[in-house]
């Protein structure tokens, strides 16, 4: 036997063994511990059941929030510098500052320049009503927000999901401002959606008291109305001082604590050094007042401050059940999202449909490939037998590649495998038909085989390349299951060229080399 035939045959033996090794964990549940491959083929959500969520990160909102935060900081800085401002207003993304004492203009200018490098002053068009200063966010700062907000959100969500406790979740960025979350095995996604969608902005404000507080319909100056949690259909609202004393970014840890019988579960939190100092100050100056703990614009609880809390620990109560408390601790621990998320796509597949799909997929595979194999055998006899062997090897390699590279097999992916069967024999048909033609022209079997492979190759190459190209375009365009189909289509073309063209050639070469062949069964 010719040396290159031996090497080529050896290549196929090695590939076959490798494919079998990686596929054993998929076929058999229990593999011995010494088996070199553990990972079964990953099934898509449409096959194993689960929930697919697509969120859009509201980056514009994050920019608005950043402007708002800067406004608050400027207000505080001016107050601390004892510069009286008549008003500091925000319209769109511009902060307007009006001063009581015009002499302090230079002082304000220097202060903002030093302390707020991300603010730039903007020219005002309307001279009549012009404020003393108008600031907006620097273009570079806006760009930095655009670049970072999605990444931050992604990291936070990933942490929240990891601590949610679901097997093999996927949290991925998609497009410019989207996040995909896939939760295999989750049928009722409500709790997961609540967990992910929570911005988790924690604010501490003081509950207003006395006559200057006003009423919920007519709050006093510097007082705002914040709704409480609804309990039994009723919603209490709180009058709180507008000023935020502390936010949740100073939290270092949060965990569930048993709480009390009447109050339900509670969440304990631990503050960092700065937070400990701030919290100490707040609780010292407001002993006897009530502290509103506000999460995403809703008052969770408003306990009375009995004594200064300087230990850097606190507790939130609010009649939580265990899951609620757990999720609250989770979001507090992992920090607030830099921007709100909007759920724009949700797909849930139940486990029974997944099982049906797997069964339907396998059934169409068995029937489809059975028909093709039988046809090839009847029509081309010996040549058909070799082509059929190549076909089986092709499927083995294709599914083996899914296991080896960790690709996800979806229902369209299975359809792609079935389709590959139908298309893979194309190459063999082209070759065998060509061999027949050459035989009819009176060539010897050996010459006919050589000519058949050689002449058919151009058509095989061109036709497969075009299908491959459309597969690549499909991959670019699609998402989820469609991508699975594109991957199968492209991989299938590669494996069918490998087995259908090079593999069958090895067999023919092995049979015809070193001896005279008088007849060939095609």
């Amino acid at each position: 036997m010719n040396r290159t035939v031996t090497y080529r045959a050896l290549l196929f033996v090695v590939l076959t063994v490798a494919a079998v090794v990686v596929l054993v964990p998929t076929v058999f549940r229990d593999v011995p511990s010494w088996w070199p491959w553990r990972q079964p083929v990953r099934l898509g959500l449409d096959l194993q059941g689960g929930t697919h969520l697509l969120y859009a990160v509201d980056i514009e909102q994050a920019i608005d929030t950043s402007v708002e935060r800067n406004r608050q900081d400027v207000e505080r800085a001016l107050r601390e510098a004892q510069i009286g401002a008549t008003s500091i207003e925000q319209q769109g993304r511009t902060i307007f500052v009006r001063l009581a004492n015009k002499d302090k203009r230079d002082q304000v200018q220097t202060l903002v320049k030093d302390q707020f490098p991300s603010l730039v002053s903007v020219p005002q068009t309307d001279v009549e009503s012009a404020a003393d200063f108008a600031y907006t966010l620097d273009a570079r700062e806006v760009q930095r927000l655009r670049d970072n907000v999605r990444e931050q959100a992604l990291k936070i969500i990933r942490n929240r999901i990891d601590q949610f406790g679901v097997a093999e979740p996927t949290v991925q960025a998609q497009g410019s401002d989207e996040i995909v979350v896939q939760l295999p095995g989750i049928q009722d996604p409500q709790r997961a959606k609540d967990l992910i969608g929570k911005t988790a902005l924690l604010e501490f404000k003081i509950v207003a008291e006395g006559p200057q507080a006003g009423t919920p319909d007519k709050p006093g100056a510097g007082i705002q109305v914040v709704p409480g949690k609804s309990e039994g259909g009723r919603r209490q609202s709180y009058l709180v001082e507008r000023r935020t004393l502390m936010t949740g970014d100073v939290l270092t840890d949060a965990h569930v604590s048993p709480g009390s019988a009447t109050e339900g579960m509670a969440v304990d939190f631990v503050l960092d050094q700065r937070g400990t100092k701030e919290f100490g100050q707040i609780t010292t100056t407001h002993v006897g007042r009530r502290l509103a703990i506000i999460l995403d614009g809703v008052v969770e609880s408003a306990p009375t401050i009995r004594e200064p809390i300087t230990g850097g620990r606190g507790q939130i109560t609010g009649r939580f059940d265990f899951a609620e408390a757990q999720d609250l601790a989770n979001v507090l621990r992992n920090g607030a999202l830099p921007a709100p998320l909007r759920l724009i796509e949700e797909r849930t597949v139940g486990p029974s449909l997944g099982r049906d799909s797997i069964r339907n997929g396998i059934l169409s595979f068995v029937v489809g490939s059975g028909l093709v194999i039988a046809f090839m055998l009847v029509y081309y006899r010996g040549g058909g037998l070799i082509a059929d062997a190549a076909l089986l090897l092709n499927v083995l390699f294709l599914v083996g590649a899914f296991a080896a590279f960790g690709f996800t097999l979806s229902l369209p992916g299975i359809a792609g495998v079935v389709l590959t069967i139908g298309m893979a024999v194309d190459a063999n048909v082209l070759i065998l038909e060509r061999i027949r033609e050459e035989l009819r022209l009176g060539k010897t079997p050996r010459a006919a085989i050589d000519a058949g492979y050689e002449r058919a190759w151009y058509a095989i190459r061109d036709s497969n390349l075009t299908t491959f190209l459309s597969g690549l375009i499909l991959f670019q365009f699609g998402s989820g299951p469609v991508r699975g189909f594109a991957v199968t289509l492209c991989l299938g073309i590669l494996t069918s060229l490998l087995t259908g063209v090079f593999g069958t050639r090895v067999v023919y070469d092995a049979v015809t080399s070193g001896r005279r062949v008088t007849a060939v069964s095609v």
């Binding site: 759920l343 849930t348 029974s352 081309y380 079935v418 298309m423 022209l441 058509a459 299908t467 670019q476």
Partner: protein, 321 residues
């Protein structure tokens, strides 16, 4: 199918070969002569299909493109579709479409398109509540729930159109580069023909048009060219061999010579897509349907659309340089 003896080609063969053949090698059908009739037939069918799309006010868009909510349920017992419609006649649900997916009256897809009002999952919840109130817990199984926002639908629609156009151009360009520019034009027109034909068939059969259907269309695009390549490849080969013949004759000879390959290669692909269509289940029903139609049309078009275009570009009846 009886085994017919191989006919000797031009020269008598030294050895007698007996092949199992569907198409005898000496076959000579005048495909090129039939091209105007076929042209008429093709475009009549396409017009009927597109007319159907127009009359129905667009394709039967799934929620992927239109945005909205889809709930796929399976009942333990066959259930009249009217009962389901009645269960969903609620003030918080408008324009509910209930479709029997053909599992003996037990499986239905309930769709509400364009669910912009009321938040992402409220429509799905309303549907589930309606079903639970009417039929009771446990008499049915919720197989799938999908909600797609309007923005997503618009984005998908744009990228799907772009993908099909890009694929058509890339294929045409590739064939033009591999063969000649007129073969490229022929292939591009042929696959446009296939896509239009498939879309028309989807509309006539009232199949849902969703993401996977677009995936099927793109595959059809790739496959249509695949077939065209086989015929074009032979035409090019024969153009070298038969320099004195007219292009029309060369085409006829080439199409006849490759007919067996074309039918068998397409046949196996059509066989497996038929298996997918019949056995693949409701989730990929429209996907398999689009593939099946597209492959059949694609085979036809590589004979009757691509080659006549090449011939037309050559200048009718003129001889090769």
């Amino acid at each position: 199918m009886p085994t017919s003896p191989a006919r000797a080609a031009e020269k008598p063969a030294p050895a007698e070969h007996r092949f199992f053949e569907l198409i005898p090698p000496g076959l000579n059908i005048d495909f090129v002569g039939l091209r105007f009739k076929m042209l008429l037939l093709s475009w009549t069918l396409i017009l009927i299909g597109l007319g159907s799309v127009y009359l129905k006010g667009g394709l039967n868009y799934g929620i992927d493109f239109a945005g909205g909510t889809m709930v796929h349920v399976r009942f333990a017992q066959p259930t009249p579709i009217g009962d389901i419609r009645a269960a969903l006649a609620r003030p918080d649900l408008r324009e509910v479409v209930v479709q029997d997916v053909g599992k003996g009256g037990q499986e239905f897809q309930i769709r509400v398109l364009g669910a912009e009002h009321g938040g992402a999952s409220s429509v799905a919840d309303a549907i589930k509540t309606g079903l639970r109130d009417k039929f009771g817990e446990g008499t049915y199984d919720v197989l799938r729930v999908e909600t797609v926002g309007p923005k997503v639908g618009k984005d998908l629609w744009r990228s799907a159109t772009l993908a099909v156009l890009a694929a058509t151009l890339v294929m045409g360009a590739y064939i033009a580069f591999r063969f000649e520019i007129r073969f490229g034009v022929g292939a591009a027109i042929a696959l446009l023909h296939d896509v239009l034909m498939t879309i028309g068939a989807l509309s006539l059969a009232n199949m849902e048009f969703d993401l996977t259907t677009v995936a099927a269309l793109l595959t059809v695009v790739g496959y249509s060219v695949h077939d065209t390549v086989i015929v074009s490849d032979r035409i090019r080969e024969n153009m070298k061999k038969m320099r004195r013949e007219s292009l029309a004759t060369i085409m006829n000879v080439s199409i006849n010579e490759t007919l067996s390959r074309t039918l068998i290669t397409s046949g196996t692909a059509i066989l497996v897509t038929a298996a997918l269509f019949v056995l693949g289940g409701s989730v990929i029903h429209s996907f398999a349907f689009a593939l099946l139609v597209g492959f059949i049309v694609g085979t036809y078009s590589s004979i009757y659309v691509a080659s006549p275009v090449v011939l037309y570009l050559e200048g009718r009846g003129s001889r090769r340089r």
